[in-house]
Symmetry: C2
């Protein structure tokens, strides 16, 4: 794998800890066999034969991980934004997702999505498809081609859908899932299937039981939604009167972390017991600040989750969130944390740039293993950032330049992208 032995030279920025940057100017960042060998001020003798790409004054940061995104919703991001969650699902999302029954439409839509994801700061992502097996497999084929590392879920939903977007029954949903897994479980280098019950209102108890069996058989990771919106939470309580909190509606089927790595998106309104159970089961929280704002859901207590040592990463949640950019997700997370501090609880300090950068890199990246940092032995995911399109009259520190690119930068500032040592562009 000689092509995975190389060196990037530039200003290397990553997390020193979850609250501090490590910034090494004019450093050598070594990739050896797709893994990071370290950041060096002087190049060690043993790497002197590796080709060096000189990135000049550019910044080099780890690739970002998007823990929660709906691929079929990319087509209508930034529209219908004046609605709240349940109304938005029924009037926009479900009818739009129904279109993915048509494979020609899916090809067109998913090509646009995967091309955009490839150009974005995202190196790794956990992605919802739709309930349709062919369209979801097509999405996985297209993602495989990008070189990004992704987990993709065929969505399960056998109740409370709309006429064109609901599976016939639990058995059909489970059978389709089995077919999909058979097709995809060992097919790809870069894409893995992830179990994806849409959310409790969409999945009957019978279906949840079947999915739990499927999960344990293949030791599948899982992703779903949790405690996003007050109306949704009240509905789950009605649907599952035997539960004390929403998370129990997954947990009673063994679908709440533990042995199988699990992501729950949102957790805006999680009660204490739910938080404790998430911690106990190692559940990852995908914090989706912009989506929780757009859909008027609220602001998740991320400072508390950090203090209590839960696993957290960030998600764009397209199309609840309108922006595919994880840079924007970092900024959104800082911004809503400030409003939460001011308006809800001034004992919970706002998040800093250092903290949210960590969440977007190693925080969420750890769901994929050793990723999201430039420590020795980590997967070599890197972005080269060029800020010459953002002119400034004064001197700026490297940290200022990084902050500025995160606040202001679009995809055009990314001039190089690597995932597991493979050059994406």
């Amino acid at each position: 794998m000689t092509e995975k032995n190389f060196i990037l030279k530039g200003n290397v920025c990553c997390s020193e800890t979850s609250t501090a940057f490590s910034i090494t100017e004019n450093a050598y960042l070594v990739c050896e066999g797709g893994l990071c060998a370290g950041i060096f001020r002087e190049l060690p003798e043993k790497y002197r034969s590796f080709p060096i790409k000189d990135c000049g004054d550019n910044l080099i940061i780890p690739g970002l991980t998007d823990l929660h995104i709906h691929a079929p919703q990319y087509s209508y991001r930034g529209t219908g934004m004046d609605l709240e969650l349940l109304e938005w699902l029924n009037t926009i999302t479900f009818p739009q997702e129904a279109a993915y029954a048509n494979l020609n439409y899916a090809q067109k839509a998913y090509s646009i999505f995967t091309e955009a994801l490839k150009k974005s700061p995202t190196a790794r992502a956990c992605i919802f498809g739709t309930m349709h097996v062919p369209a979801t497999e097509l999405l996985m084929d297209l993602l495989e081609e990008t070189g990004l590392k992704t987990m993709v879920g065929k969505v399960n939903m056998d109740r409370n859908g709309v006429p064109n977007l609901q599976e016939k029954d639990a058995k059909t949903s489970a059978q389709d899932t089995a077919t999909w897994l058979e097709d995809t479980l060992h097919k790809y280098q870069n894409v893995r299937p992830i179990l994806t019950p849409r959310f409790t209102p969409s999945c009957s108890d019978e279906l949840m039981e079947m999915l739990s069996v499927i999960q344990k058989k293949h030791h599948l990771p899982m992703q779903s939604h949790l405690s996003e919106n007050l109306g949704e939470i009240a509905w789950v309580k009605e649907l599952c009167p035997d539960t004390d909190f929403y998370g129990e509606a997954y947990d009673k089927f063994g679908l709440f972390g533990g042995e199988c790595p699990t992501i729950m998106a949102h957790c805006v309104h999680s009660p204490d017991a739910e938080i404790h159970l998430m911690k106990e089961r190692g559940v990852y929280i995908a914090h989706c600040a912009q989506s929780n704002t757009n859909l008027s859901s609220g602001i998740a207590p991320v400072r508390r989750y950090l203090n209590e040592g839960l696993h957290i990463g960030l998600g764009t949640d397209i199309a609840g969130g309108a922006s595919l950019s994880m840079f924007r997700a970092i900024v959104d997370s800082i911004q809503v944390s400030k409003l939460r501090w001011r308006l809800v609880d001034d004992t919970q300090k706002p998040l800093t740039l250092e903290e949210t950068f960590y969440l977007a890199t190693e925080g969420g990246g750890s769901f994929f293993g050793k990723t999201g940092n430039f420590k020795e032995g980590y997967e070599f995911d890197a972005l080269i950032l060029d800020d010459t399109s953002l002119p400034h009259p004064q001197e700026l520190t490297i940290r200022d330049r990084l902050e500025r690119m995160i606040y202001l930068g679009d995809d055009h500032i990314i001039t190089g992208k690597y995932v597991s040592g493979k050059k994406i562009f």
Copy 2:
């Protein structure tokens, strides 16, 4: 003025009312002598000699008005964002603004700013300079060249600054202001001076008295800051123990609207009496949603201001806000209004796209007279928007396309810009 007689043909979108769009597909938008003559489905006989620019399937919207922006702060937007207002002013803003004593630096920084403003969706803006007369005049010269319509203020600040950024005394500040007005009051076609006491903590009573005299002499418009941050409000109360609320600290010098049109930025924490006085005096509120978020100030009660019939427009408030784009200001305003509804007061409904679009166009634009709409007799300010860089697999309505461009678009979607009938690019 033949060059100001022309027609744009395309999908014309503007406000029908403050809560509804007017959308006319494939329409003729006529500019006659720099003013809008109307939107026509069929071109009237009398305009048949005017040259037609066919914008195809593009959208045409009114130019946007930024009611609050600090030109010298553009250079460091998107940095130092982890601080609250007063700390941010002292550690970042004041030291950075001090650099504008150097005219070479100002030339470099203001050239970058004016070039960016020209390319942005902003047609008109109310702009803070610094306390320095030469740099502020240079800024005005550069803005004149852009063709945008702006009001620009030399800042007054004779107390509570930092060593390099504070005027010697009230008299010096007033004299500098007189010099600046003499130089600029009748110099430009596109730029007008606007009186700009920074905010109460920066201006002694003696200075306020002198500025009031200057204002009345020239019937000058004015811009300042009001009730942005709780720490600031407490400080004003200390500085002005004879006032019942912050607005009185301006009003007692006759510097709070009335005869002279006045903009107060922020009004996040205005008490009832202040709101009533703003209404009585016709004071314009510049709502700066992103800045109020970044500086942890809070969320202004815009729904209440609308219900009570106050004048409101939007501001980017660079560099409290990081983005120069008024598209982003529209989105930010919607987003924070949703969080306010959820977290502070659920009797105050979130703002809609239609409402915030109105605020960004005619709402703020009316500070400049008849602008921000395509009604007959309005100044012809228009943007041509091309969304082909935002591919989509499905049909979209014109409204959806507009919403999408506002949520997702950057300056590159603007392919044409006109102000008062003059082509900017």
